[in-house]
């Protein structure tokens, strides 16, 4: 998956903590908090300020000039071309180039990664890899997923409301996505269901945009989180 947004183990390793589980004791918690404080102090003042502004919703977005966006889109194309292993991306491109090359679709990735071209190219390729892993290489790979594509069980999970978007935005106009951890109705062994729910919800947010619409057939998901099966009706 996209390496720029993945979990990292470096801080835990530095602090001498296990990289296979969360801290469990108060001592480990204190060590983790110390490590976090040190890492925060290592950030430049600008970075720290940006974080504070983002958290409090007072960050100002730099104006996005059309020319700059066009230049970034061209650079993104080149960066994607440089990635050698992109079978799913190529398949989607073959199925529906208008979908894959849509500037609005590509801009979503650029904006999500603050116009980091390399990261955006990586995320787009990994995005199609994930979609391929979940849905196979059918026509759904190059089109959006609709709510009607969900199975009854998928819909049940979605309707359970573990992931909701609040009806109003926050004070600075940003959408608020609410997640409720409910391990009573979805036991630990079934936790992948939550992952599926999250994924589906995130996908539903896309709202028929030709982009990141995923779903998983939860009944097919086995115990390990990494096993994500494709939706049967989709492929």
């Amino acid at each position: 998956m996209s390496k720029f947004r993945l979990c990292t183990m470096d801080l835990a390793k530095e602090a001498g903590l296990s990289v296979h589980r969360f801290p469990i004791s108060s001592e480990e918690t204190a060590i983790a908090e110390d490590a976090l404080a040190r890492a925060l102090n290592k950030l430049s003042l600008d970075e720290q300020e940006k974080i504070i502004f983002d958290v409090h919703g007072i960050a100002t977005m730099p104006h996005e000039y059309e020319d700059t966006a066009n230049v970034s889109l061209k650079a993104l194309e080149k960066e994607i071309d440089r990635i050698s292993k992109k079978d799913a991306y190529n398949q989607a491109l073959f199925l529906n180039p208008n979908f894959v090359k849509d500037p609005k679709f590509q801009l979503m990735f650029l904006r999500a990664l603050e116009f980091n071209i390399e990261a955006a190219a990586d995320m787009i390729v990994k995005h199609f890899d994930a979609k391929h892993e979940l849905f196979g290489d059918g026509e759904i790979l190059a089109r959006e997923i609709r709510q009607s594509d969900l199975s009854a069980r998928d819909l049940e999970i979605v309707q359970h409301g573990l992931f909701q978007i609040l009806p109003t935005s926050d004070a600075s106009g940003r959408a608020v996505i609410c997640m409720i951890v409910d391990l009573h109705n979805f036991r630990m062994s079934e936790f992948v269901s939550l992952i599926g729910a999250q994924f589906m919800f995130a996908v539903l947010l896309c709202d028929r945009l030709p982009s990141a619409h995923y779903t998983v057939r939860l009944s097919e998901i086995k115990g390990t989180p990494n096993v994500l099966r494709s939706h049967g009706s989709a492929s």
Binding site: G57, L166, C206
Partner: protein, 289 residues
């Protein structure tokens, strides 16, 4: 909704709000699996808030930050305590807790969520014919801060965008009254432009889907013109009310004087205040959608 489709959201990022009320806890493998999926979605987390009410979850919060990626790690804030104190804390970050689905007893509401899903399903059905290939049909909209909401509900009337638009109308009222027919249209369009420039839209709730849709410019201009006319009416009602009040006071004074003068009391006239007039009603409640 179209959260990811919304350019503003793409630029500003979203706020994640997680409630972990009780002792339920994820393990690292599950967290990584979640992250693995999230990392392929083009959505930027501007900030995250983790809310919990059990001391036993404190190591988990530290763990989330410890294993999170460099970008999101320090954008996570934790909130501990009862739901009331958590919501108070969240409010200091501008989170609209009054619409939070979480309830004090640990359950959560799905009313809005189901409504949204239904609206989306209906729009999918309505736009099924358009959804072939790369065509994008209308999408469900989540109101933004400066969106002007049509309708009679408190949410619509009290929204920041509606209040701001009403304020703009109020400060240009005198200018509007003096303006010619064409100048009035220009003025209404200037106000529309000001709203559009602040990323606002004019939204109307559809009866068919229950979601919000953007109205066309003509309807938006008509709404502004309606507000101007309503404010004129409101002002005249207010003046009329003040005039009647003055008349009442003066007639009461006269009668009071007459009573004082006629010490026998035989000629004294006691004027009773007439029924109070309601000065006005909200402009938004007068127009049907």
């Amino acid at each position: 909704m179209a959260a990811l489709r919304d350019e503003e959201l793409q630029k500003t990022g979203a706020v994640w709000l997680a409630y972990n009320m009780g002792d339920s806890r994820l393990d690292l493998a599950e967290y990584i699996a979640c992250n693995r999926i999230e990392a392929t979605l083009p959505i930027r987390c501007a900030s995250g808030h983790f809310c919990f009410n059990s001391h036993s979850l404190r190591p988990l919060v530290a763990g989330f930050q410890l294993f999170n990626n460099h970008y999101d790690r320090f954008r996570l804030r934790s909130h501990f305590g009862s739901l009331e104190s958590i919501h108070f804390s969240l409010q200091t970050f501008g989170i609209p807790t009054d619409v939070s689905p979480m309830k004090a007893d640990g359950s959560w509401s799905t009313d809005h969520h189901l409504e949204w899903l239904r609206a989306q399903a209906r729009q999918e059905e309505a736009g099924a014919g358009k959804l072939q290939g790369d065509a994008v049909a209308e999408h469900v909209i989540i109101p933004r801060k400066f969106d002007v909401l049509f309708g009679k509900s408190a949410r619509a009337r009290l929204s920041t965008g509606t209040q701001r638009a009403l304020h703009l109308v109020d400060i240009h009222r005198e200018q509007y009254e003096k303006a010619s027919k064409y100048e009035k249209t220009d003025l209404a369009e200037k106000i529309m432009t000001a709203i559009f420039k602040s990323n606002g839209r004019f939204l109307k709730q559809t009866k068919k889907c229950g979601g919000w849709t953007v109205v066309d410019d003509v309807e938006a201009r008509q709404k502004i013109a309606h507000w101007f006319r309503h404010m004129r009416w409101k002002s005249s009602q207010s003046q009329q009310y003040e005039g009647s009040q003055q008349e009442e006071v003066s007639s009461w004074r006269e009668s009071s004087n007459a009573r004082d003068e006629g010490e026998d009391g035989d000629t004294a006239v006691f004027a009773r205040p007439t029924k109070r007039m309601t000065p006005s009603i909200s402009p938004l409640t007068t127009e049907g959608e």
